[in-house]
């Protein structure tokens, strides 16, 4: 009925968080570059501070893409079934109280489960990518000792 609204609402929040994180990461990267320049007596921006790890904002973008993409395609399905219309109140179920209660129940059950499952899958992806990054870091640290 309107289950896609819950993941879409989560997508709005995660997009705002991503934008804030991106600006913070950018400013911290710039300040780190300036510190490197100051220590080397450089004047131009030549030494970006790269740790070799994927920034968290980039990982959060994966969740944004899944939530926005999934919500958009689900919204299309709802239009297809006539549950979303281009005139107010936009959701056909919102026109009478009985259907509205059913819609809210569906949002609270199916919608919340959808948002939770997408987030759980994303958390799994973050865990796996962090493990891969840690492993490659340890490989890089041990390689010079082997040679």
């Amino acid at each position: 009925m309107a289950c896609f609204i819950v993941p879409a609402a989560e997508a709005v929040i995660t997009t705002v968080v991503t934008k804030v994180l991106q600006s913070k990461e950018k400013s911290s990267e710039e300040s780190a570059s300036h510190e490197v320049q100051a220590s080397h007596g450089e004047t131009a921006l030549t030494a970006p501070a790269h740790t070799g790890r994927t920034p968290f904002s980039h990982k959060l973008q994966w969740l944004n893409n899944m939530l926005w993409g999934g919500s958009a395609l689900l919204a299309f399905e709802h239009i297809w079934h006539g549950e979303v219309v281009p005139w107010a109140p936009f959701l056909t179920a919102a026109s009478d109280p009985a259907s509205a209660a059913e819609m809210l129940h569906e949002m609270a059950t199916t919608g919340v489960t959808m948002a939770l499952l997408v987030t759980a899958v994303w958390l799994g992806m973050v865990a796996v990518s962090s493990a891969i990054e840690r492993r490659s870091e340890t490989d890089n640290e041990t390689q010079p000792a082997d040679n």
Partner: protein, 106 residues
């Protein structure tokens, strides 16, 4: 049927992304995430429907199946259109920008 078609689209896009990786000029990751996101959401929908209908869930009427298949293909087409719009706006290869500057220089 919609869920199945979307899962197949997600798997094909992921394979295409993997064969092209680490190059990502075509921004295939957007398509992958979009289809996987929708697949997960429809999977939840399917689980709730299965809990309600039990075995009947696997015996849909032919007309419903046809409608769902049509919807699944439309969803895949919509996903491709969204990806194409994002690709042309972000223009990672600079093709659109080059074409526009070429026209203005003439």
């Amino acid at each position: 049927m919609t869920l199945l078609i979307t899962i197949f689209a997600a798997v094909i896009c992921t394979i295409l992304w993997y064969t092209k990786a680490p190059k990502n000029e075509m921004k295939l990751h957007i398509l992958c995430f979009m289809y996987w996101g929708a697949s997960i959401m429809w999977l939840v929908d399917a689980i709730y429907e299965f809990a309600e209908l039990h075995a009947d869930y696997f015996q849909p009427a032919p007309a419903d199946m046809l409608n769902d298949a049509f919807l699944g293909l439309s969803v895949v087409a919509l996903g491709l259109i969204i990806w194409l719009i994002v690709l042309l706006i972000k223009d990672p290869k600079g093709v659109v920008r080059a074409a526009l500057t070429k026209q203005t220089n003439k």
